[in-house]
């Protein structure tokens, strides 16, 4: 059991999303950074889609009742256990009564805390994700609050082996390949032209690649709102609404683009200038207010190829961890 001593800014339970209900207008939700989510679970001996804790900018203080294996991936919010600083992207072990705290946000926007066995919350419409706008799923449909008590599921055999090993050697002698998790800050976010790309003025299409955009404080789980050179269409025409996807960059009439994230609406009526390649969505997920983003073009084919390669790397990582311990 995990006791919430302090909830942090926005701490929610998420899995990889609620699919199958978009035709009723239900958002997919789920973790914003799927890469950090999946790796966090693998390091805690879980299936990659298990429910975990998503932490935004200001982290919670949590007390663990019972010994358990955990891992923290994604943003660096200076985590400590009983005051001792802890590494990210590593399996960690806590004992009865240990307190995990998050401190100064150093880098990134969202951290993922996976606990061996996963967080146990009732399944709503096939998912454990918190869908904040409707108040369903996750822990009572809301962000965690002081005094909440989270139930943890049964750890896998792999988690038990990893935990035993850590009790003897508190540091693992291996780490996640940098190629997989390295967030090169200077690298541009790769995007594909959207369906209404051609409706935009030539200068706007160029500005998207030549200028940088700042992440607005009005960003949330629904969308990463950007501010920068206004993007304008050639003529004003209202498009016929249709489906959008996670990573769609839509442009309302004020010309300031919005990258749609996990809690996005299912359909939209604003022109879509581009879609972010799935491979780079974790980088958008980790962009915090004030950060600058730059964009670069990628073909649809290359985006799919790179996505498949990363998923295969995750599969290999999972196999590698299993072989090491079992």
């Amino acid at each position: 059991m995990i006791e919430v001593l302090k909830p942090g800014l926005l701490t929610t339970i998420q899995d990889l999303g609620r699919t199958g209900f978009q035709q009723y207008g239900v958002s997919v939700s789920g973790s914003i950074d799927h890469l950090a989510h999946k790796v966090a679970n693998l390091l805690a001996g879980n299936e990659s889609g298990a429910a975990l804790i998503e932490i935004t900018l200001t982290g919670p203080h949590l007390r663990f009742h019972g010994q358990t294996l955990l891992s923290i991936c994604g943003a660096d919010f200076s985590p400590t256990i009983n005051g001792v600083p802890q590494p990210l992207w590593k399996p960690l072990r806590v004992d009865e009564g240990d307190i995990l705290r998050f401190g100064t946000p150093k880098e990134g926007c969202r951290a993922y805390l996976a606990v061996a066995g996963g967080i146990e919350v009732p399944e709503v419409m096939g998912s454990h994700s918190t869908y904040l706008r409707t108040g369903i799923g996750g822990y009572r449909g809301r962000a965690l609050q002081k005094g909440d008590r989270l139930t943890v599921g049964t750890p896998s055999c792999l988690a038990k082996e990893m935990s035993n090993e850590l009790s003897m050697n508190p540091q693992t002698d291996w780490s996640i390949p940098y190629e997989l998790i390295g967030h090169a800050r200077s690298r541009a976010i790769r995007i594909m032209p959207g369906n209404e790309h051609g409706h935009f003025q030539k200068e706007s299409r160029e500005a998207l690649f030549n200028q940088s955009y700042t992440v607005s404080p009005r960003s949330d789980r629904m969308g990463c709102r950007l501010s920068g050179p206004a993007l304008q269409t050639e003529t004003h025409r209202d498009m016929i609404s249709e489906a959008v996807t996670t990573g769609t960059i839509q442009v309302p009439p004020d010309g300031q683009p919005i990258v749609l994230l996990a809690d996005r609406q299912t359909t939209g009526g604003y022109p879509r200038i581009a879609e972010v390649a799935s491979i780079d969505l974790p980088r958008v997920a980790q962009a915090k207010p004030g950060d600058e983003l730059r964009f670069a073009p990628i073909t649809h084919e290359e985006a799919q190829r790179l996505y498949l390669r990363r998923e295969r790397q995750l599969r290999e990582l999972r196999q590698g961890i299993s072989l090491k311990y079992v």
Partner: protein, 233 residues
Amino acid sequence: MDYSLRPLGDHALVIEAGSSIDHATHVKVRSICSAIEEADPAWITDIVPAFTTVTLHYDPMKLEHPDRLPYETVMNRIHTILSSIPPGAEEEPRTIEIPVCYGGDFGPDLESVAEWNDLTPEKVIELHSGSPYLVHMIGFSPGFPYLGGMPEEIATPRRKEPRLRVPRGSVGIAGSQTGIYPLESPGGWQLIGRTPVALFDTQACPPGILQAGDRLRFKPITPQEYKEMEASR
């Protein structure tokens, strides 16, 4: 059947059935959805029907192939599924009545919609509630219906700056479309009224009271009637 395919990001594909909001396109969209639902491929994670399109969200990892990208495989399979559609019989649609209190606090943009179109607010209400609508799709937010059949005389562009909070039940206009916000959410539509009826309930199965293909009629009510209906909910 004529249609074209295009990608939406690297995890979804759009089947375009037509280019304008009309009955024939709607019937095509419905039969595409039925054919795909019947085939029920495991690689599809979501089907989203819209006015002129059907979007399929898919899992590329379920379409791994040594020398073919997932998108190519999806296109081939869609062509196979859609080539088997027989000339379908149309189902009789349901008609659902939605009570709306127009103007005032319930519809803060009613005046500006009237002004934009050189009409009186009363005429806007008369036109908006005069004819039945077709529910083309549910989207944007849970249970939000996109309705076809709004008179062009009251078409008004979206607001320049979207509102961060639109109250639940709000009825709005965007371009030549009209719709209802089932939950409080951000949005850029011109708000002309509000309904006390709950359009979305997570406990219900399916969770929305409206479905693509339904007919809908707006019935003007007074603020007093609104309060009574809201109280009895």
